[in-house]
């Protein structure tokens, strides 16, 4: 399906990352947005609240992030494509109903414009320290999809992609930007609507008496119905069978939870996206994501000038993690250099995926500002020694 021209602000714009996310969401056909103000993500909902009356859809400012996320899950079951937007502290509050979204297999998109933490931390300054929280923050076992754009233009595209992935796999999809990307203003080209491909949610064609709401298809994703369509489904956050009824035993738990993780793990190759550059003969690969992938560029250029063979692996989809690619590269390089604005999160995954084949060198940063490229350069130099 192509995007609706009435929802797409075609043209060249000068937008910040937050506003580009808003335009991406509207173009993707998002009709329900629940939000609660929190710096530095508020601009996303501010723009949406300005645009939505003439574009079509509902924006509601909820009483807190718990409510925003719960409303998003509810709205998704009516067939609306729902969005909520937040940052660190609000993200923590959303964890409860993100778990519900995973359990009810509810397509939804959450944008987290990361800031410095823990707690209130640095409301107006950047951070990348929610990368593990997005994967593991809610209790229990589950899988999600997380993307990490590094420019306003990418914010536009990857918000659309997040909607497509969420609808495709019936899972919460996260756009993990950060304060730098969110508040960085750049040229954003919004194409014609017919250049934007949207995934249409798969609804069942079975009659109500034959339909089982949680019976998976071959790709492990069940077909959905909407509330009000006469199927009279039951959806519960309790462990449930294919009918959606709660069953309290380990066999059903095993079947359900295994499928919830497998539907992402087994389809990971179709979901994963990264940018790879000059890794063929690289001695060291700079693995980064989000704003850090742009900060690393001068460091990489400087190292290359000195003759160091530096490859680049920039993650666009951070979760599921591209472990196959990292393993493959780990066999031929000396080290990964991983700059991230935290004290070591994705680097742990890199270490795990590299299985001791090479080093994984973290270039940490506590947040509040991006790395000095010099630090990344030093780490590259150190790594090839």
């Amino acid at each position: 399906m192509k995007a609706d021209p009435k929802r797409v602000l075609t043209g060249a714009h000068y937008l910040d990352g937050d506003h580009a996310c808003s335009e991406g969401a509207l173009a993707a056909g998002c009709t329900f947005i629940a939000g609660y103000p929190i710096t530095p993500s508020t601009e996303v909902v501010e723009r949406i609240s300005e645009r939505i009356p003439t574009v079509g859809g509902i924006f509601i400012q909820m009483e807190d992030e718990l409510a925003s996320m719960a409303a998003v899950v509810g709205a998704s079951w009516t067939g609306a494509k729902p969005l909520t937007v937040t940052s660190g502290p609000g993200f923590s509050l959303m964890m409860e109903n993100i778990g519900l979204a995973c359990m009810l297999e509810t397509p939804c998109v959450i944008i987290n414009v990361q800031r410095g933490g823990p707690s209130t931390g640095l409301p107006t300054l950047t951070g990348q320290a929610d990368m593990m929280q997005v994967r593991w923050g809610s209790h229990g076992d589950y899988e999600i999809i997380a993307l990490s754009p590094n420019s306003p233009q990418e914010c536009f595209w990857y918000t659309i992609k997040a909607f497509n992935l969420a609808e495709r796999y019936r899972v919460p999809a996260f756009v993990m930007t950060d304060e730098c990307v969110g508040h960085m203003t750049e040229k954003v080209i919004i194409p014609e609507a017919d250049e934007i491909e949207l995934y249409t949610r798969r609804y069942t064609k079975l009659p109500p008496e034959e339909y089982l709401p949680f019976k998976p298809g071959p790709d492990l994703v069940p077909e959905m119905v909407r509330a009000g369509d006469g199927y009279k489904i039951h959806a519960t956050g309790l462990t449930h069978d294919e009918k959606g009824y709660p069953v309290m035993n380990w066999e059903v738990q095993e079947k359900l939870v295994r499928r919830l993780v497998d539907k992402i793990r087994k389809n990971a190759d179709d979901i994963i996206e990264f940018e790879e550059e000059a890794t063929d003969d690289a001695e060291v690969v700079v693995l980064s994501y989000g704003i850090s992938s742009r900060v690393a560029i001068p460091a990489i250029q400087k190292a290359r000038k000195e003759g160091i063979k530096v490859g680049v692996l920039r993650l666009v989809v951070v979760w599921p993690f591209p472990e196959k690619k990292v393993l493959e590269l780990s066999k031929k390089i000396k080290a990964f250099v991983v700059p991230e604005i935290n004290y070591g999160q994705i680097v742990l995954e890199v270490e795990r995926a590299a299985r001791g084949n090479c080093n994984a060198v973290l270039v940490p940063h506590g947040g509040g500002w991006v790395h000095n490229p010099e630090d990344i350069y030093k780490a590259i130099k150190e790594a090839v020694r």
Binding site: P53, D64, A75, T78
Partner: protein
């Protein structure tokens, strides 16, 4: 109820008249003997029939707890959400598809303990939904802890020497936050409750009905109040019907008189009315009103 026991229960071929609205494949339910939640569900079913609302458009959302299980027993689009979040979940359903009739069926702990914030804000916005609150004065599912509704001096497992925290007056809370319909009944007032629910189902806006329910296994046992039947008899002797009573006067003390009745019935534009009217005024023809996923 485990599966083997369910299979052992040979059900006769005759059909209970409520079978079109209950998930009979899940009955018998998990509620204890003499629990009033089943009565509330029956009253709700009778009201649905009376109100003549197409069942396909009715959504029931529950939170967590004994009353949270209601969603699992009604043969409607039903959602068993997270603890305290039934109201925002229902808000999402209603706004995602304004044609739906959303009903929140949950308990006092869920709606007013952990979910109090959502309740007051939805009443303030006049979000179009009906909230049915089973009030048994205690957190029963977790074994009888002190709730926001536990009367003073009542014994619970976390107030073993008696409760010293003042409880909520739920109708007053709903009234002062702007609910358009506020009523309170006990599980004994089955017919009045059913009529009240019918009335509320036909109202637009945020309606609230408190249903005082016996919990013999936990609340009555801890407070030595006898069986469920004894509690029903207590309701019979001690509830006073006072329609239109000032909601300020509706506090419930330990084993005190319970004032029941319909207290508030007024008209206010709903959230969606306000949203659409305001935007029509501001944008004229440019306003694209959202009417649901099929629009």
């Amino acid at each position: 109820m485990n599966e083997t026991l369910t299979k052992e229960l040979k059900l006769p071929e005759e059909k209970h008249p409520m079978e079109n609205i209950l998930r009979m494949d899940r009955i018998p339910h998990i509620w204890c003997s003499t629990c009033g939640i089943g009565i509330a569900v029956t009253s709700f079913a009778i009201a649905l029939e009376k109100a003549k609302i197409p069942l396909d458009q009715v959504c029931v959302v529950s939170g967590i707890g004994c009353s949270g299980r209601v969603a699992g027993y009604v043969k409607l689009d039903s959602f068993h959400s997270t603890h305290g979040r039934a109201i925002p979940f229902a808000t999402g359903l209603k706004l995602g598809n304004p044609k739906l009739k959303t009903i929140v069926f949950s308990g006092d702990g869920d709606l007013f303990g952990i979910g109090g914030n959502h309740f007051i804000h939805s009443a303030r916005r006049n979000m179009d939904m009906l909230v049915l609150c089973i009030n048994n004065f205690i957190y029963a599912m977790t074994g009888g802890q002190c709730a926001a509704t536990t009367p003073l001096t009542a014994n619970t497992s976390t107030s073993p020497y008696g409760n010293y925290e003042y409880p909520f007056n739920l109708p007053h809370l709903a009234d002062s936050c702007g609910a358009v319909y506020v009523a309170r009944w006990t599980a004994l007032h089955v017919r009045r409750l059913a009529n009240s629910i019918t009335e509320a189902l036909n109202k637009r806006g945020f309606s609230f009905i408190e249903i005082i329910c016996p919990c013999s296994t936990i609340y009555a046992r801890r407070n030595r109040l006898g069986s469920g039947l004894d509690i029903m008899k207590f309701y019979h002797d001690n509830s006073v019907i006072k329609h239109g009573a000032n909601t300020k006067d509706l506090d419930i003390g330990y084993q005190s008189k319970i004032i029941v009745g319909k207290f508030v019935d007024r008209e206010r534009p709903t959230f969606l009315d306000c949203l659409n009217d305001w935007n029509r005024k501001k944008f004229g023809d440019k306003f694209r009103e959202y009417g649901g996923p099929d629009d």
